[in-house]
C-alpha cells in the first residue's frame, strides 16, 4: 500500500499529459460511437439497409443534400418511419437517464443512486399499470393513457417523497433516501395489486417494467424529447452547483451554494428528465447507474465533464442495446442493458484500483 503510494506520488510526465487530453479524446470517441450506433441502428434489422444507403437517406431527408436515389422506396420508409424515430428515441432516453443518474448520484452523494431512487420508477409503473387496468383509451399526440399516467405517476411520486422528507427531523439527504424507499415500497404494493387485477393486460405491464423502444413514433418523440433535452441542458448549466455538493451540503453552503433552493431545482430537473424518458420507453435499468460511474472512473467527479460525457455515452449505449434487443427478436431492452451493464460495471470496478467507498 505504502509502496504504491510512493510510486503514485511522483506521476510520470506522460500520465499528466494523457490526463489533460483525456476529456477531449473521450468526447471525440463518444461522438464516433454515437454516429456508428446511429448508422448501425438505422441500417440493421430484418431488412438490412447498406451503411452507404443509410447515410445517403439520412443526408437527403435530414440535411436536404442533393443525392441521387440509389435505394428502394421501402428502404427509405423503413429508415425514416420505423428505425430513425426508434434510434432517436433510444438516444433521448439514454441521454436523459444517464444525466439524471449522474445528478442523483452527485446530489445524494450516493454511488448506488440511479434515476429511479426517489420513487420515479414505482410511480411511473403504478401509473402505467392503472392505465392498463382501467378500460379507457385515449390518444393525444400519439400519447396514450399509459404514457401520460406513467409520466404523471413518476413526477407525483417524487413530489410526495420530497414534501414528506421535508417534515422529517433527519438530515435532508438521509430523509430523502428513506422516504423514497418507503414511498417506493408503498407504490410497489399498489403495482402488485394492479398486476393481480390486470388479467390479459399483464403482459403489457411487464413490457413497461422491462422497458422497450418498439413503439417509437415521431410525434410522441417531438413532445417528450424537448422535456428530456431541456431538463438535461438545465442540469448541465448547473454543473458548478453540483460540484459544490461533492463534500456535503454544509460545505456546499460554505462554497456559496444556496443548498435548499438548488437541491429542489436539481431534483425537479432530474426527475423531469427521468419521467419523460420513462413515459417514452418504460423502465430501462442500468443506463442511469452505470454510465455516470464509467465516465467518472475515466475523468473524475467534475460535473462539467461527467454530465456531458454521460449524456453522450448514455445515448450511444442505449442505441446499441436497443439494436441488440431488436436483432435478438425484440426482447425487452432493459434485459439487454442489465446483461451488458452489470458485468461491465463489475469489470471496471475490479480493474480500477481506487475502490469505491460505499
Amino acid at each position: 500500500m505504502s509502496i504504491r503510494s510512493e510510486q503514485l506520488a511522483v506521476p510520470i510526465a506522460g500520465e499528466h499529459a494523457w490526463r489533460a487530453r483525456r476529456p477531449a479524446v473521450l468526447f471525440a470517441a463518444g461522438f464516433v460511437a454515437l454516429l456508428v450506433a446511429v448508422v448501425l441502428g438505422v441500417g440493421l434489422g430484418t431488412v438490412a439497409v447498406a451503411p452507404g444507403d443509410t447515410l445517403a437517406i439520412l443526408g437527403r431527408r435530414i440535411l436536404a443534400l442533393p443525392l441521387a436515389q440509389t435505394w428502394s422506396v421501402p428502404a427509405e420508409t423503413i429508415v425514416m418511419e420505423l428505425r430513425l424515430p426508434r434510434v432517436l428515441e433510444a438516444m433521448v432516453v439514454g441521454l436523459g437517464l444517464a444525466v439524471a443518474g449522474a445528478t442523483f448520484q452527485s446530489l445524494l452523494r450516493n454511488p448506488l443512486a440511479d434515476p429511479y431512487v426517489l420513487g420515479t420508477a414505482s410511480g411511473a409503473a403504478l401509473g402505467a399499470a392503472i392505465a392498463v387496468v382501467i378500460p379507457v383509451r385515449v390518444l393525444v399526440l400519439e400519447f396514450g393513457l399509459l404514457h401520460a399516467l406513467a409520466f404523471a405517476g413518476a413526477l407525483a411520486a417524487v413530489w410526495v417523497v420530497y414534501r414528506l422528507s421535508r417534515t422529517s427531523p433527519l438530515a435532508p439527504l438521509t430523509s430523502l433516501l428513506l422516504t423514497g424507499y418507503a414511498i417506493g415500497s408503498l407504490l410497489a404494493a399498489g403495482l402488485a395489486m394492479a398486476m393481480y387485477l390486470s388479467g390479459a393486460g399483464l403482459r403489457q405491464i411487464f413490457g413497461f417494467l422491462l422497458g422497450g423502444l418498439d413503439g417509437a413514433a415521431w410525434l410522441r418523440l417531438a413532445v417528450a424529447a424537448p422535456l428530456v433535452l431541456g431538463a438535461s441542458l438545465a442540469i448541465m448549466v448547473r454543473a458548478r452547483v453540483l460540484n459544490g455538493f461533492l463534500l456535503g451540503e454544509e460545505t456546499a453552503a460554505h462554497l456559496g451554494v444556496d443548498v435548499r433552493r438548488e437541491r429542489a431545482i436539481l431534483l425537479a430537473l432530474a426527475s423531469l428528465a427521468t419521467a419523460a424518458a420513462v413515459a417514452l420507453s418504460g423502465l430501462i435499468g442500468f443506463v442511469g447507474l452505470v454510465v455516470p460511474h464509467l465516465v467518472r472512473l475515466a475523468v473524475g467527479p467534475n460535473a462539467r465533464l461527467v454530465l456531458p460525457l454521460s449524456a453522450l455515452y448514455g445515448a450511444s449505449l442505449l442505441v446499441f442495446a436497443d439494436l441488440v434487443a431488436r436483432l435478438l427478436g425484440e426482447i425487452p431492452v432493459g434485459v439487454v442493458t442489465a446483461v451488458v451493464g452489470a458485468p461491465f460495471f463489475l469489470a471496471m470496478l475490479r480493474r480500477v484500483r481506487t475502490g469505491y467507498e460505499l
Binding site: S5, L8, A9, V10, P11, E15, H16, Q105, S106, R109, N110, P111, V237, R238, A239, R240, N243, G244, L246, L247, G248, E250, T251, A253, H254, L255, G256, V257, D258, R296, L297, G300, P301, N302, R304, V352, T354, Y356, E357
Partner: protein
C-alpha cells in the same frame, strides 16, 4: 456573472487590508448581542465579540459551550434569534451565499468522498464561489489552485485520490481548498482533531503563516488548549453559551478559570508565561 474584482482589489480596498488596526475602520467580524440556537432553545446568548482584520483568534471551551454554533451563525447557516453579525462591515443576513463565500472560507469537516477525487480536484472546489457558472474555471482560478497547493505544501500529493490519504494529509487538502477560496476571513472547526502531533503543529504553523504573512483573519475552534495557547495571541473562552473570558492566553487560561469552566486540574494545561 460572478464579480471577482472585489477579491482582486483586496490590497487597495481599506476594508480588506488591515482595517482593524486603524481606529474607526470596521472589524472583520462583529457579533452584536447575538443569541442563537435550535428549536427555540438558545445555545449561545448575548454574544458581543469583535475581531479585527489580521487577527488570529482561537475559540475554546467545553463541549456544548456553543463554539460551533457561533461559527454557524457567522457563516450565515444559522440566523441569529436576536442581534446581528457583521462580516467585513456588512450584515451577514443581507448577504447571499456567494457573497458570503467570497468573504469567508470555512475549512470543511472531514467528510467521506462519495467518488474517487484527486487532491487537486478537491482543492479546486475552493474556486466555486469565483467560477463563472457557464464557462467554468478560468486562468485566475487555476493559478489560485496551484498557489494554494504550493502554500500548503501539497505538491507531492498531486494526482492522488484524496480518499487514499491519511487523515492528516486530508485535513491539509481541505485547508488548501479554503486557501484557494482566497477569502479574507478563514474559519476552522477543530482542524486538528484526530491528527498526530506532527500534523497538528503543521496545521497551526500554516495558520500562523496565513495570518501573519497574508493578513488572513483567522477564527478557529480548538479543543487542545496547549496548542491554542501556543499558536494564538488571543483566546475567547465560551462557557454555557456565553463568553467567559477574552484576551491573551495567560489571562484566559488562568488556573481558577480552567478549574471552574473545564472542571480539571489547571496543572494539566501549560499556558505560556
Amino acid at each position: 456573472m460572478i464579480d471577482t474584482s472585489e477579491v482582486d482589489s483586496r490590497q487597495s480596498d481599506p476594508r480588506w487590508s488591515g482595517g482593524g488596526r486603524d481606529s474607526g475602520a470596521s472589524p472583520a467580524v462583529e457579533f452584536g448581542s447575538v443569541s442563537a440556537g435550535y428549536r427555540g432553545r438558545d445555545v449561545v446568548s448575548d454574544i458581543d465579540l469583535s475581531i479585527g482584520a489580521e487577527e488570529r483568534v482561537a475559540l475554546i471551551g467545553p463541549n456544548g459551550a456553543g463554539k460551533s454554533t457561533l461559527l454557524r451563525v457567522l457563516a450565515g447557516l444559522l440566523p441569529p434569534r436576536t442581534g446581528e453579525v457583521r462580516l467585513l462591515g456588512q450584515n451577514v443576513a443581507e448577504l447571499d451565499r456567494p457573497a458570503i463565500a467570497r468573504r469567508l472560507a470555512v475549512v470543511p469537516q472531514l467528510a467521506a468522498l462519495p467518488f474517487a477525487t484527486r487532491v487537486e480536484e478537491v482543492v479546486a472546489l475552493g474556486r466555486l464561489p469565483h467560477e463563472d457558472a457557464l464557462r467554468g474555471p478560468r486562468e485566475a482560478d487555476r493559478a489560485a489552485v496551484a498557489a494554494a497547493i504550493d502554500r500548503v505544501g501539497l505538491r507531492p500529493l498531486v494526482g492522488r485520490d484524496a480518499r487514499e490519504l491519511s487523515l492528516g494529509e486530508r485535513q491539509l487538502v481541505f485547508l488548501a481548498l479554503a486557501v484557494a477560496q482566497q477569502a479574507p476571513v478563514l474559519l476552522l472547526d477543530e482542524p486538528t482533531v484526530h491528527l498526530d502531533l506532527g500534523h497538528q503543529v503543521q496545521i497551526m504553523e500554516l495558520l500562523r503563516d496565513l495570518n501573519e504573512r497574508d493578513g488572513t483573519t483567522i477564527l478557529a475552534v480548538l479543543h487542545d488548549l496547549s496548542l491554542a495557547a501556543h499558536f494564538f495571541p488571543r483566546l475567547v473562552l465560551l462557557d454555557v453559551g456565553r463568553i467567559a473570558s477574552d484576551g491573551p492566553p495567560a489571562e484566559v487560561l488562568a488556573p481558577h478559570r480552567v478549574r471552574s469552566v473545564f472542571r480539571v486540574d489547571p496543572g494539566l494545561i501549560r499556558a505560556p508565561a
